[in-house]
Amino acid sequence: MSTPAGNEDPVVIEVSGLTKEFGRTVALQGASLTVARGEIVVLLGLSGSGKSTLLRHLDGLETPTAGSVRVLGQEVPRLTGRHLRALRSRMGFVFQQFDLVPSLTVLENVLTGALSELRGPRLGLWSYPRRLKLTALGHLDRVGLLDRAYQRADTLSGGQQQRVAIARALMQDPEILLADEPVASLDPESSEQVMSLIREIAMDAGLTVVCSLHQVDLALSWGDRIVGLRHGEVVLDTPAEGLSKAEVMEIYGRVATSTTELEAIEVELADAAADAAAETRLADGALRT
């Protein structure tokens, strides 16, 4: 099953009938998804639609209530301990809140991406082999932060921190890159930088990418394929090319039980724009006073 031949398999992710319940709330309801090697897929949906839960199942961070999750030829929920860690090490994960250790240097944060290939605990730069340090510096250079290598992670801006997190994921030399709302906590300019960085790296290394987003415009301009989620169900699965925002909205409108959901999508978009504008105004005001 998990023979090296599995690597040649064109299908790297195969989710079918995935259901996840947290107590009485249903996060995922029979969701299915198939991703081929090298695809760049966007999971699109409002908050609470099940995007994050789906991503976390791919990495084995959650156990499904029902259904199957096959990644790189292995049934994820069946794996435990060493085998699960081995599979996880083949997938990079980029989080919304970056999730760097604030008190460690940037370089050491990147190096933690290589922990799975090292045995035993590590603390301090000296405890990592020179070979890995060189690789980590190379990745930092790739994301344009080589000059920050020895600074504490919490001295960096949000956009820089997310780039460090990407470098940390690259440290795993992954086959798949999972990203959970990677730019939801960033300003528009940093978002642009981070998203194009992810895409360039994915193209260069031939990575398979599954990235969750809630902004329709960004999803359409960035992804190759759009998978829409609503209430834990897949309601849309189509190539991004030639798709317009109105069409996406229409599809959402067709599956929506009421017009309120469609409105919610529009309202969320408008809110995001208004928030950004308000923040800019606030920042301007703060500067002036």
């Binding site: 922990l115 799975s116 035993g120 590590r122 060189l134 080589l146 290598a149 600074q151 300019e189």
Partner: protein, 601 residues
């Protein structure tokens, strides 16, 4: 000319229930009533205990006369030979440090099991918490007594006693720190395929380290104060020589050592404040004596180089100050030579500071171990003695004493603690309130009250007790006064801090209605701070019960006297019985305190 008088009184409306009848009844839960009654009973018991302790103004004036005569008789205070003094000081610090470090090492796995986000299961968590409660409940003096029996003389009994007893507090605070971490970095390491151990060392440890170091340093200060009492049961160091001097009526030497100990405590507090600052990289926020000195030095230095150039270190740079300097994506493929160069970490100010502190810390630890001259062999040979000694400790019995005497002594200890807590409470509410920024009438009052609290906290209680006993003679009076005095330092500070933390809105609203300063205090500040007040008072009672048993050992009355006697007379069954009594009392008080804090939330 008012409208009210002009309107004719309307005919009486149909008899509707009055507002008093319509108003909902105030509901009181039975638990709250029970808690209030318990609280009342504790207060009454404290008042009785205070009345019984024989503390009165005339007797205090009388003892002042005693003090004058005493100091006239003692003559000039003497110190040990300089070389001897230096060795004793180093030994005391080294021993305390080794003990605290031992506790820190033991506390890491205990905290890992006890913290709700790292524990492998509920059973493990219960075990971790049990270890925490148990080690905290057994006084270090009792442990020291037992270990002095098992080891040939040396520093090991003291190190082990401090090491085991401190696990209680350290592991509790360690676990609290683990529970407060940001789960994100840890999850990121799990997602990258890291093992549980790697999650801990790379995801959790870097986050909790500053708080852990602060905890250990704090406990080290407490242990240094406590080391005086350990000397009374045979642990080497300054305390031992002091007890010996007092026993042989060499008061001038005893007082000299007491002064050295006092200075040592203050210096240690300053040093630990400096180290904490270096670890946390910020200005100390505490209001301890050490923190104050550090702040003063810092301010002075800042004023000195205000004209100097701002040295911008790479590490301390604010976020995003040089953002977007490097274009992303324009794959900046530097040559491997450049990466090789980047391997060498620049020696910036942060790195130099960390390295220097690291080496100093290592030197201090190695020095401590060396000066303690630990007989490592004892750690192996002592197991052979354990069965023989353990048999002597079981079953517990009161030996030659009758049960009434022992329970009476235990009651006396509880009485000392209650009376001291009450005394401290009354004075602390007054001093602590005036030390709070939002209560004090002006800055001068606040500053002087804060200063008073700092000075009181600087004096180790045990030393105060010993000096008081020497002056007023043996008995519970000295113990009560010493505990009350020390309690003011602790409770007054806690009260002042929590009063300063109350919301200022209600105070402002009352002031706007024209309420007087006293009314604002009584109706806005006090009600908001009440919960903290009750919580802190029970914390003090909890501390005082433990401290009261220890004071008995130095002659402050109560059960501690019998404990010391039984230990020195080799009546180990009696030691066990007394320890069990103390354990039960401490656990009851702790349970009561937890209940009160929950009910009066």
């Amino acid at each position: 000319m008012s409208l009210a008088t002009a309107t004719p009184t309307p005919s009486a409306p149909p008899p509707s229930p009055s507002i008093a009848e319509r108003a909902p009844r105030r509901r009181l839960s039975p638990e709250r009533i029970a808690a209030t009654l318990t609280l009342g009973a504790i207060v009454v018991a404290s008042v009785i205990a205070l009345a019984d302790s024989g503390i009165s103004i005339p007797s205090m004036i009388e003892s002042w006369g005693n003090a004058e005569r005493f100091f006239a008789r003692v003559g000039p205070i003497t110190f040990p030979e300089p070389g001897e003094l230096l060795y004793l000081t180093a030994l005391t610090i080294g021993l305390v440090l080794c003990g605290t470090l031992l506790a820190a090492v033991i506390s890491v796995p205990v905290a890992y099991l006890a913290a709700s986000n790292t524990t492998p299961g509920p059973g493990w968590q219960a075990f971790g918490r049990f270890v925490t409660v148990l080690t905290r409940a057994i006084p270090d003096v009792v442990l020291a007594m037992v270990f002095v029996l098992m080891f040939s003389l040396g520093s090991l009994p003291g190190i082990l006693a401090i090491g085991i007893h401190s696990v209680g507090m350290i592991s509790k605070l360690f676990a609290d720190a683990i529970e407060q971490i940001d789960e994100g970095p840890r999850r990121a390491i799990r997602a990258a395929g890291g093992s549980k151990l790697q999650e801990f060392t790379s995801g959790i440890l870097p986050q909790v380290l500053p708080s852990w170091v602060a905890t250990v340093l704090h406990r080290n200060d407490i242990n240094l104060r406590g080391s005086v009492v350990l000397g009374y049961v045979g642990v080497v160091g300054l305390g031992h020589d002091m007890s010996f001097a007092f026993k042989s009526l060499n008061y001038s030497l005893g007082l000299g050592i007491a002064i050295v100990m006092f200075v040592l405590c203050v210096v240690m507090e300053i040093i630990s404040s400096v180290v904490r600052q270096a670890m946390l990289g910020g200005a100390p926020s505490g209001r301890g004596l050490g923190d104050r000195v550090v702040r003063g030095v810092q301010n002075a230095r800042r004023r000195a180089d205000v004209s100097g150039t701002r040295s911008a270190t790479a590490g301390a740079e604010p976020a995003g100050s040089r953002d977007a300097s490097s274009p992303v994506g324009r794959s900046s493929t530097s040559g491997s030579a450049q990466l090789e160069a980047a391997l060498r970490r620049p020696w910036d100010a942060v790195r130099i500071r960390n390295t220097v502190w690291g080496w100093i810390a290592l030197a201090v630890v190695v020095g401590s171990v060396l000066v303690c001259n630990i007989q490592w062999g004892d750690l192996i040979t002592f197991w052979a003695k354990v069965p023989a000694i353990a048999v002597q400790f079981w079953p517990p019995s009161f030996g030659n004493y009758d049960a009434a005497t022992m329970f009476g002594a235990m009651l006396q200890t509880i009485g000392i603690a209650l009376a001291a807590t009450l005394l401290a409470f009354v004075v602390s509410v007054f001093v602590g309130s005036l030390a709070a920024r939002n209560v004090a009438p002006n800055a001068a009052v606040r500053t002087s009250m804060r200063l008073l609290l700092v000075v009181i906290r600087g004096i180790p209680e045990v030393i105060l007790a010993i000096v008081l006993i020497v002056i007023t003679g043996l008995g519970s009076q000295a113990g009560t006064l010493a505990l009350a005095f020390g309690g003011i330092g602790l409770l007054g500070k806690l009260i002042a801090d929590s009063f300063e933390e109350v919301k200022s809105g209600p105070e402002r609203a009352l002031r706007a209605t024209g309420a007087s300063r006293g009314q604002v205090y009584a109706s806005a500040t006090l009600p908001q701070g009440m919960r903290a007040l009750i919580g802190h008072s029970f914390y003090l009672l909890d501390t005082n019960i433990r401290a009261a048993t220890i004071l008995g050992i130095v002659g402050g009355g109560g059960i501690g006297y019998y404990l010391l006697n039984a230990g020195q007379g080799s009546n180990y069954a009696v030691v066990t019985a007394i320890v069990l009594m103390i354990l039960v009392t401490v656990l009851i008080v702790e349970g009561l305190a937890m209940w009160m804090r929950r009910v009066f939330r």
